[in-house]
């Protein structure tokens, strides 16, 4: 390569030319050896396991369940025929399905409210300094970590129509009458109580999760900001509303999303406590889907029932994620 030094001293130009070895040329590297490509490749390699995981363990089963919902698949027949939206139409015709849909919405909304309230209260409590704080923090997550079958069976005993520990305490305290009296509540037998009873177990089991999520958020709020708000004369509620909530909103939204999905898909609590009874008063969509799809063998209809809440949930997820993205900027 020749260096052309326009309009300059020829000696200087010659010196410069001498300084630059004639053999040095800008390397024309292959595209796969460029640093940008390698950076991308490295990034995608790191992402690959997660993407593969999602595709194989989330995407594929989801597409499969979509296929089932649009077919007349049965647990005992490897061949299924496409039936379009027939399974969804059949579900909507069923009074039991409508009741299960209503119950699922009530179950999710009421549980979310209580988990939010109790989780916030518990998170604030755990923020305080007190002796044995670490042990208490460990203990509060026990309901969440216990095997669900064991904890729900304990609740079954607590709600027993004859030997209920709750009723025994209430009766001894004079709040209700003795066993057999009209004021003796039948927790899992009275439709108006049964749904609340199963919601209570769901809340008990999962509100520590809400508390831990919130606790993580609270600890991330800089104390300087809170102190500044205090100096400005904000009381506790004002600080919570105007400082803490906006700062931990991303965590709150993600926590809310998780909780909604967990609650809507909670089969175990209702199935183990009531199987959806009495008279479908506690029947929710996952229980109905299991009974129709697996126990009765109508896989297609079971899948349709299970997927019914997917569109609104998907919409909710998009709205939440867009909200999160906006907050990033």
């Amino acid at each position: 390569m020749t260096v052309v030094h326009r309009g300059g001293d020829p000696e200087v130009a010659a010196g410069v030319a001498a300084a630059v070895p004639p053999t040095v040329r800008p390397r024309t590297r292959s595209w796969w050896r460029r640093s940008t490509t390698r950076r991308y490749l490295f990034g995608y390699t790191l992402l690959a396991p997660a993407v593969l995981y999602v595709v194989l363990l989330v995407g594929a089963p989801f597409l499969f369940s979509l296929y089932l919902a649009l077919s007349d698949a049965s647990v005992a027949d490897p061949v299924a025929n496409f039936v379009g939206l027939e399974n969804f139409r059949a579900a909507l015709e069923s009074e039991t399905f409508i009741l299960a849909l209503e119950n699922s919405i009530v179950f999710t909304v009421v549980a979310a409210i209580f988990k939010g309230l109790l989780g916030t209260a518990l998170a604030f409590l755990l923020l305080q300094n007190f002796p044995g704080k670490k042990i208490i923090r460990g203990l509060v997550v026990i309901p969440f970590t216990l095997p669900i079958a064991i904890s729900v069976l304990n609740w079954k005993w607590m709600y027993d129509s004859q030997f209920s520990a709750i009723n025994w305490v209430l009766s001894r305290a004079g709040i209700i009458g003795m066993y057999g009296s009209p004021s003796w509540p039948i927790w899992l037998g009275q439709p108006e109580l049964a749904l609340w009873a199963v919601i209570a177990v769901n809340v008990w089991r999962t509100y520590p999760f809400s508390a831990i999520v919130l606790l993580a958020g609270f600890t991330a709020v800089p104390t300087e900001v809170l102190d500044a708000a205090k100096v400005d004369g904000c009381n506790f509620l004002q600080r919570f509303h105007h400082v803490i909530v906006p700062m931990i909103a991303p965590i709150l939204l993600i926590g809310f999303l998780f909780d909604t999905v967990f609650t809507l898909s909670d089969l175990s609590v209702v199935y183990l406590l009531t199987q959806g009874g009495p008279a479908n008063a506690t029947k929710i969509l996952p229980v109905l889907a299991y009974q129709v799809g697996i126990q009765a063998g109508a896989l297609g209809r079971g899948a349709a029932i299970a997927l019914f809440l997917f569109p609104p949930l998907f919409l909710l997820m998009i709205l939440l994620l867009r909200n999160l993205k906006r907050r990033e900027y």
Partner: protein, 444 residues
């Protein structure tokens, strides 16, 4: 060169004839030896037979089955037997999983939910052992065959069923001059009399297996039915069903407390054992629980025949149990041999289950039966094989009936009536559910 034609002319046996003769001889001899020794052919020897069944309500039965019965049979035949137990409610899900995988156990048990009609294309046709065992043991009770029969062939063997008789407190009945609950009306009178004295009765108005069984016993004894013998037509919309619902409402109002709305399958056991209940309609596990936990109450607890309905009819709806062999099983010969052995030794199983397992085979149902024939209070159970029925009665236990059972449509009809819904509204709802479910299968 050798003259082939000459060799043909020689007296003696050709190679083909030799092979034919010795082949038939060896096969015949082996079969004769096998039948004499009651052993499977050499093929199963050294193999593993996998059995999936429920966890029996009598834990000692499982111990006997796993460690003695199957082991002794396996040792004799050189087959390793592995028995897995899961709760009976999980059997349908497990069956679906094994079908999808095309692998799993060789023998699978169905308890209460009998899925023969759903899976028959994937089950081994075992009509041969159904027929031979039936012949050997005096035939099957009439309601056994529809449990396993599809298109004229049998895809399983009914092994035992579980009865839900009337268990009542004789001391309370005697003290109040009440007759034994031989009819549903007498049972109602007893409940009406004893409830004010602190001894109500109870049947599950909830979504559990016992509710499905008990309310069907009442309905069928009142002359009602679920489907016709073809299994295609629903019989629920009848005056008998309305009468039964009316009776159940009165029984609830007069003789029960609202706790029955929350009961599961074990609640009535505890209710009786606690000394509160005057009678319950339940499996003899309740009787055994009382024996173990409250000897005083047990002493006064008696078992009665299935109560008769208004027309004198008695039908006892029992929980069926059936064993099947997967078509994908590579050990079908051993599986068949085992099932034959199991049926041949039914009485031993009945002893180990403390009288819980009831026989489908008429030969085993002859009096005196083991355990129950020797216990004066339980002897009445020996009369039940004549009146036993299953879901779908008088029709078979079809796939739509299976869904009706799993969705608790019939118990919900009774619950709605007990909760003051007008009978006609409940009938409309119930028939709507039945028709919708049956229509889906017809469309399919």
């Amino acid at each position: 060169m050798m003259d082939r034609s000459a060799s043909h002319d020689r007296p003696g046996v050709s190679r083909r004839d030799f092979l034919k003769t010795t082949g038939v001889g060896v096969a015949g001899g082996s079969l004769a030896t096998m039948l004499e020794a009651r052993q499977a052919p050499a093929q199963p020897r050294g193999t593993t037979l996998r059995i999936l069944q429920w966890s029996h309500f009598i834990p000692a039965y499982d111990t006997w089955f796993d460690t003695k019965f199957t082991k002794e049979w396996g040792d004799k035949l050189g087959v390793k037997v592995r028995v897995d137990h899961i709760p009976h409610l999980e059997l349908p899900a497990r069956m679906a999983a094994e079908f999808a995988a095309g692998a799993g156990h060789d023998i699978i048990m169905n308890g209460s939910s009998i899925l023969t009609r759903l899976y028959y294309k994937s089950l081994a046709d075992i009509s041969d052992i159904f027929d031979s065992t039936g012949k050997k043991h005096g035939g099957w009770i009439p309601t056994a065959k529809p449990l396993v029969e599809v298109e004229g062939r049998q895809f399983g063997v009914p092994m035992f069923y579980i009865l839900l008789p009337m268990l009542y407190r004789k001391d309370l009945f005697d003290a109040n001059n009440l007759k034994a609950p031989d009819t549903w009306e007498l049972a109602r009178v007893a409940a009406r009399t004893l409830k004010p004295k602190g001894h109500p009765t109870g049947i599950q108005f909830s979504q559990c297996a016992d509710a499905n069984l008990n309310w069907r016993s009442l309905l069928f004894s009142f002359g009602g039915g679920e489907t016709d013998p073809s299994g295609e037509n629903i019989l629920i919309d009848s005056k008998e069903t309305r009468e039964t619902l009316r009776f159940a409402k009165a029984l609830f109002d007069e003789g029960m407390t609202p706790e029955v709305f929350s009961w599961d399958d074990a609640s009535d056991n505890r209710f009786l054992a606690s000394g509160v209940g005057c009678w319950i309609h339940d499996a003899i596990s309740a009787y055994r629980t009382t024996e173990d936990t409250n000897p005083d109450v047990f002493k006064n607890t008696f078992i009665a025949m299935e109560p008769a309905g208004p027309g004198g009819k008695r039908v006892s709806t029992a929980a069926a149990n059936v064993y099947m062999i997967w078509k994908f099983s590579k050990n079908q010969q051993a599986a068949k041999e085992f099932l034959v052995h199991f049926l041949d030794n039914f009485k031993e199983g009945m002893i180990q289950s403390r009288g819980y397992n009831m026989p489908y085979l008429l030969g085993d149902a002859q009096k005196p039966m083991p355990i129950i024939g020797a216990d004066p209070k339980m002897q009445i159970l020996q009369d039940f094989p004549k009146i036993v029925a299953f879901y779908g009665h008088p029709g078979p236990f079809t796939t739509p009936v299976q869904e009706v059972v799993n969705l608790f449509v019939l118990p919900d009809m009774f619950t709605r009536v007990a909760r003051n819904q007008p009978i006609e509204d409940v009938m409309k709802w119930g028939m709507g559910e039945y028709r919708r479910i049956f229509a889906k299968y017809k469309r399919a």
